[in-house]
């Protein structure tokens, strides 16, 4: 560790001497004052000199004394130039403008710099978009969902038909770190996975890291989905929203003090239960079925150097049947951040994060019923620094500490039959420290390397159990408050390097190791709120993922087409599966139900995208395998993971016919899931029972589907714009198999039954936007 740090600093000091000055500032969207993340700042006179803005729109560039032309640029904005005579340190804030007319986008702007950051950046295996750019992509029930759009990109596989859960490069669904304004979201789905908890209206930017994961992120083995909420318009008040088949949305935003602070509140509620009431006479009164989300955020700039942000998310699913059965579950997160600019080169962000997920059941009437509840709660304190050492080295470093509280379950009741049962809560402290350098070496070589140290301390008050080979408890030991039950720690090296062959193509290579100390227990195909998270313990070891990736990037036709091909190889250690008939519910000794093994995943991913012009979209192809090996499963032989879909294709096309009409379509195809089917049968108690010979030895039928969409942008007024979106999910009505089950038919003959979840589903959504209201003007 020590050697590594000194090496890091030696490498940083490789620049020549000479008088240097720094230009720094922030980049914003001129229309609403939102920070622009990942905007590029380049120096026209120098090759391979430049920087990008951080998540708060901050940039800093240190150059030798001289005259320069700086170019500020970001996708979807007109580039801006700024001529500067650098004889002292300078502050320069930039506001980027959106092109006045949509038509202008069609014509390629011949600008001084080329939009080839995908070639020149050392970042690899990153998928990034803002929800606006994909708003016309057709989705099921017309509910825009960034998580479902991510599933249309290479290396990301859906957890199932219509599901917002996903697998990244052969990893498990619990191996994705999903962050909303730095707060982890433990259960990112509504209604058993059919909708994600992320309301697109409140989201500014989504980044998915599949490899080359920056050192600042830790805690999950396979990927990071970093979602940033919008800050709200700090110039004018506005309201926007939509009415859809499943849910309606409303967003309010505006300045707190113009150009100094802003707020945004965005809400969404579904109303499936209203339809239920209409269609089913047999449904008892007081039946509820809905979910809601509320996103809120405010920020305020205190002087030039300080800014605070407060953001929160509250969402809940509620389902009840009369007075007999009720359940609800949801997430609550809160983030308080303080940005401070110590100097033109040192940017600091201090964060306090709260995250909570809980669920509860109420069954039976008040006197006779019982209730079940469970929760997981985090407090996270984080300190991050960005240090813009010189124009060849940008350092990031920081520390964080998370306190986890797990309440795996409690049963309380009024019925005499049931004994109250409260599973032991578990407490843990998860610590992290990291340092990373993004370094340019000459004009053709970039390297980003870093090291993360993480530690996990499971502590009392609580019990630790030991189990024999059959999963039966052999000993139990109690621990006091804050007493260590089990301690794990490890180093997570991360590195990626980029060799720029020319301005149109480059080669990148990356390696990362990720440790994961929390594990989600789920032995079903659907996403349930009861899929508990458990900490690493004396029995459950941290999951370890090692991945190497190699990529080739090529831009064609003046960056009109961007192509990438990546191969990866990944190993996963300490993976979890379950004993036959495992009882994961309200079980203090749940660890006895688990078995441990390892995984291997490898593949090739190809992406061709076109982001400019009337015609945009992408083609994604993934050729991959995802394998597992457990001593206790399949006689110890390697088997396919469920998501071992060998071929996976997504084609997304968007066509802007004219100012008022946009058409879109996407088509997906993938090899059927690996599944377990019987290879024989026998009778028990007069019931015909399937006989299995191997785990996941069969395949579901191949999956394919076409969705089409049509968006009509109605006549725009000065302060009002609105559109109507019609989409058809599964347009050619393919009966894709959701499950295939084996049972006897009415004649007692064994048959295979295929269940199709969604056949053709049309939907319609109306969206509106009221903008540019300025109350002060009115009073003038």
């Amino acid at each position: 560790m020590k050697h590594f740090v000194s090496l890091l600093f030696v490498l940083c000091l490789t620049t020549a001497f000479g008088q240097k000055f720094t230009i720094s500032g922030s980049i914003k969207d001129a229309s609403n004052g939102e920070d622009v993340f990942g905007a590029v700042v380049k120096v026209k006179e120098l090759t391979n000199v430049g920087t990008t803005t951080n998540a708060y729109g901050f940039y800093s560039l240190t150059l030798e004394k001289g005259d320069y032309t700086l170019i500020y640029r970001s996708t979807g904005f007109d580039p801006q130039e700024f001529k500067v005579s650098l004889t002292e340190d300078i502050s320069k804030n930039i506001e980027l403008k959106v092109p006045a007319e949509v038509q202008q986008i069609e014509e390629m702007k011949v600008s001084a710099t080329k939009e080839n950051d995908n070639i020149t950046s050392s970042e690899m295996s990153v998928t990034r978009f803002d929800p606006k750019s994909i708003e016309t992509v057709p989705v099921i029930f017309g509910e825009k969902d960034v998580m479902k759009t991510l599933q249309l990109t290479p290396g990301v596989k859906t957890a199932g038909e219509g599901n917002s859960g996903f697998f990244v490069r052969g990893g498990g669904a619990d191996q994705n770190l999903i962050l909303l304004d730095e707060a982890p979201v433990y259960n990112a789905s509504h209604l058993l996975g059919f909708f994600s908890v992320f309301n697109s209206d409140a989201i500014k930017d989504v980044s998915l890291y599949k490899s080359g994961i920056p050192s600042e992120f830790g805690g999950r083995a396979s990927s990071v989905v970093d979602i940033k909420m919008r800050d709200g318009n700090n110039k004018n008040f506005g309201a926007s929203g939509g009415i859809g088949l499943i849910a309606s949305r409303l967003t309010l935003e505006g300045p707190i003090v113009k150009d100094k602070g802003s707020f945004i509140i965005s809400g969404r509620r579904s109303y499936a239960d209203l339809f239920l009431g209409l269609s089913q006479e047999d449904i008892p009164d007081n039946t509820k079925l809905f979910f809601y989300d509320l996103n809120a955020k405010a920020n305020y700039r205190i002087g030039e150097k300080d800014r605070i942000f407060l953001s929160g998310y509250f969402g809940r699913d509620v389902f009840s049947l009369g007075d007999e059965f009720g359940t609800s579950w949801g997430n609550a997160t809160g983030t308080l951040r303080w940005n401070h600019i110590f100097s033109q080169k040192l940017f600091s962000n201090t964060t306090i994060v709260y995250s909570n997920f809980n669920y509860g059941f109420d069954i039976g009437t008040e006197e006779e019923g019982f209730g079940i509840s469970s929760s997981i709660q985090d407090w996270n304190l984080k300190q991050d620094f960005s240090y813009y050492l010189n124009n060849n080295n940008t350092l990031k470093f920081g520390v964080n500490a998370i306190h986890h509280t797990f309440k795996p379950g409690a049963l309380t009741g009024g019925n005499d039959s049931f004994n109250e049962i409260v599973l032991d809560p578990r407490y843990a402290l998860e610590l992290g420290a990291y340092i990373q350098n993004d370094m340019k070496i000459g004009s053709r070589f970039n390297v980003m390397y870093g090291l993360r140290y993480s530690a996990f301390n499971l502590m009392g008050e609580g019990a630790a159990y030991e189990f024999n080979e059959l999963g039966e408890v052999t000993s139990e030991q109690r621990y006091n408050n804050w007493e260590t039950i089990q301690f794990y720690h490890g180093l997570e090296p991360r590195a990626s390097a980029n060799f720029i062959i020319s301005e149109n193509n480059s080669v990148k290579i990356g390696y990362n190791r990720n440790l994961q100390y929390l594990h989600q227990l789920s032995n079903s195909t659907t996403s349930f709120p009861t899929d508990n998270w458990v900490p690493s313990s004396n029995n459950v070891k941290p999951q370890i993922a090692d991945q190497i990736a190699l990529g080739y990037y090529q831009n064609l036709n003046k960056n009109m087409f961007k192509m990438s091909g990546e191969i990866y190889y990944k190993t996963l250690q300490n993976q979890i599966d379950y004993r036959n008939g495992a009882d994961l519910f309200l079980n203090n000794e749940v660890e006895g139900e688990l078995v441990y093994g390892q995984g291997t995943a490898y593949g090739f991913e190809l992406l061709v995208e076109k982001k400019k012009g009337k015609f945009t979209g992408w083609i994604s192809y993934t050729l991959s395998r995802a394998l597992r090996q457990f001593d206790d499963i399949n006689d110890g032989k390697q088997f396919s993971a469920r998501q071992d879909r060998i071929h996976d294709v997504s084609i997304v096309l968007m066509y802007r016919v004219n100012k008022s009409i946009a058409l879109s379509a996407n088509w997906v195809y993938y090899t059927g899931d690996a599944v377990t089917f019987p290879s024989g049968g026998y009778e028990i108690n007069g019931t015909y029972v399937p006989y299995y010979t191997e785990r996941n030895g069969y395949r579901m039928p191949d999956y394919h589907r076409l969705d089409v969409g049509f968006t009509w942008y109605m006549k725009e007024r000065k302060r009002f714009e609105h559109n109507l979106n019609v989409s058809i999910y599964n347009a050619y009505n393919r009966e894709n198999a959701y499950t295939i089950t084996f049972s006897e038919n009415d004649n007692g003959e064994p048959v295979a039954i295929q269940t199709t979840l969604f056949k053709i589903i049309p939907s319609i959504t109306y969206n509106f936007n009221l903008k540019n209201f300025n109350f002060k003007k009115k009073t003038n």
Binding site: L276, T676, Y691, R695
Partner: protein, 263 residues
């Protein structure tokens, strides 16, 4: 719990559809299946030895009549269970000793399959009661019976509940009701047993409470996850108590019964 949610997902939210399809399945080598019950109620040991077939075969399972079957009590006394044809073997007037372990041996084709099971004493049922329920989700209204019994305190108990209506016994695997005392140890256990369709006035309901050992309880719960169109993500053969990978089980159990008439 999951089943309730699952039903809600499939049944309410979605316009799902089901159809019979052809699936090309492998043909596994035949495997020995031993279904052995030792019932305290009539002091009889009943064993059936068969083999697996290809899944879609309509022919009855091949029966094995030339196996050598014995049962051994806790004192080591060995008794033969003799073939009565059709793959069945039987031993009558074999009086049980409660809280002792029996072992069974089945020898066939040079392989000996062995299993042990504990014979637990019966737990008496109290009189059953009935409650009326309005129907929902398309099923008509009717009655469900409430099982009532005192769970013995401070012992770990496992039960299998078998219902019958007007003399017809629902003992197929999906209809068996499993009950343990993890949440109810030492209490008066009283819970409704829902059936579809619900009972009507005048139905004669029989209730049987079998006391089984833990291994059998888990065997049946695993069996239920794969029998009768369940959708487990990773289905596997239930782990019975036979050695040498024979399928099936050896269950030594006692029971108690009650009969009630729906008011």
């Amino acid at each position: 719990m999951k089943r309730i949610l699952y039903t809600f997902a499939i049944g309410l939210l979605i316009v799902s559809c089901q159809k019979e399809i052809d699936v090309d399945l492998n043909e596994a080598d035949p495997k020995v299946v031993i279904e052995a019950n030792y019932t305290a109620e009539d002091s009889t040991v009943r064993v059936r030895v068969t083999q697996t077939t290809n899944y879609f075969d309509l022919a009855p399972a091949p029966e094995i009549n030339n196996a050598v079957v014995t049962i051994t009590d806790a004192n080591g006394a060995v008794s033969n269970v003799n073939s009565i044809g059709n793959g069945s073997y039987e031993l009558t007037n074999y009086v049980p000793a409660f809280n002792t372990t029996y072992s069974m041996s089945v020898s066939y084709n040079g392989v000996e399959y062995v299993a042990q099971c504990e014979m637990n004493p019966p737990v008496p049922l109290e009189d059953m009661t009935f409650d009326f329920y309005p129907g929902f989700f398309g099923s008509p209204e009717g009655y469900a019976s409430n099982i009532r019994f005192f769970d013995p305190a401070d012992t770990v108990n496992f039960y299998l509940i078998v219902l019958s209506k007007n003399g017809s016994v629902s003992d197929s695997v999906p209809n068996l009701i499993l009950q343990d005392d993890q949440l109810t140890d030492g209490n008066l256990v009283e819970r409704p047993l829902f059936v579809n369709p619900l009972y009507e006035t005048g139905d004669v309901i029989g209730m049987e409470l079998r006391s089984v050992d833990s291994r059998m309880f888990y065997y049946y719960s695993e069996l239920q996850t794969i029998a009768g169109a369940q959708t487990s993500a990773a289905p596997a053969n239930p782990e019975g108590n036979w050695s040498n990978d024979a399928l099936g089980y050896f269950n030594a159990y006692s029971n108690s019964r009650k009969i009630g008439v729906v008011p």
